[in-house]
């Protein structure tokens, strides 16, 4: 079955530095990957989408890469701020109209 793996341990990053989160997937070749942010007790919020023919996508301080050979996506937050502290979820859609999520990585930006 399709699997998404994210480092479920918390990631602590000093304010102002770049945070890099990893998403690996197996047993599937998605046409695109999505990244969402989830704050405690809230629903996920869509951030970025990257297609299989795109190497990199940027939105303000966010950058996503997609390596279909490694079956991996990296999510970067540059000039990180304490307000970026949240859980970040990687997701993709399989062929049957189902978007599945990784467990997410908790990011703490330390002031």
């Amino acid at each position: 079955s399709q699997k998404i793996e994210q480092n479920s341990e918390a990631l602590n990053i000093q304010e102002g530095k770049t945070a890099t989160l990893t998403c690996n997937y197996t047993n599937y070749s998605p046409a695109y990957l999505q990244w969402y942010r989830q704050d405690p007790g809230r629903g996920p919020v869509f951030l970025l989408l990257i297609r299989e023919n795109e190497k990199e996508k940027r939105k303000e301080r966010l950058k996503v890469t997609f390596d279909t050979t490694l079956k991996q996506s990296l999510f970067h937050i540059t000039a990180s701020q304490p307000a970026d502290s949240a859980t970040y979820l990687c997701a993709f859609a399989n062929r049957d109209d189902k978007i599945i999520f990784g467990k997410g990585t908790r990011l703490h930006i330390l002031p």
């Binding site: 046409a31 999505q34 809230r42 919020v45 869509f46 859609a93 049957d96 109209d97 189902k98």
Partner: protein, 117 residues
């Protein structure tokens, strides 16, 4: 900005009771979803719904669960006889389109926390 609204925000029920969770998706969206998240665990797909029928469901979505779009705006999840393990946050989501090259970006509601005693 359009949003998905869910009610109730929190419901406490006794084991064996029926529960209905309600959602109002974004008005021009065509695809509707329910996900659940047990505390500390990942967001799990339950069911997707399009054109007034279920398009995909997970193994979690057994005969105790049902979904309905009773009118042009509401989308409901019913759990017929709740179990302790149904305690979770239930998220409704909607999307303007399904899977395909145009992509399927989900807008989630704030969730309904269900506590089964």
């Amino acid at each position: 900005e359009p949003e998905v609204t869910q009610t109730p925000s929190h419901q406490v029920t006794q084991m064996g009771q029926e529960v209905i969770l309600r959602c109002v998706p974004i008005s021009n969206h065509l695809y509707f979803y329910w996900y659940r998240q047990i505390l500390g665990q990942k967001v799990e797909f339950l069911v997707s719904f399009y054109n007034n029928e279920i398009s995909e469901k997970s193994e979690i979505f057994d005969d105790q669960f049902s979904v309905e779009r009773p009118d042009g705006s509401n989308f409901t999840l019913k759990i017929r006889s709740t179990k302790l393990e149904d305690s979770a946050m239930y998220f409704c989501a909607s999307s303007p389109r399904g899977v395909g090259p145009g992509a399927n970006v989900l807008t989630f509601g704030a969730g309904s926390r269900l506590t089964v005693l």
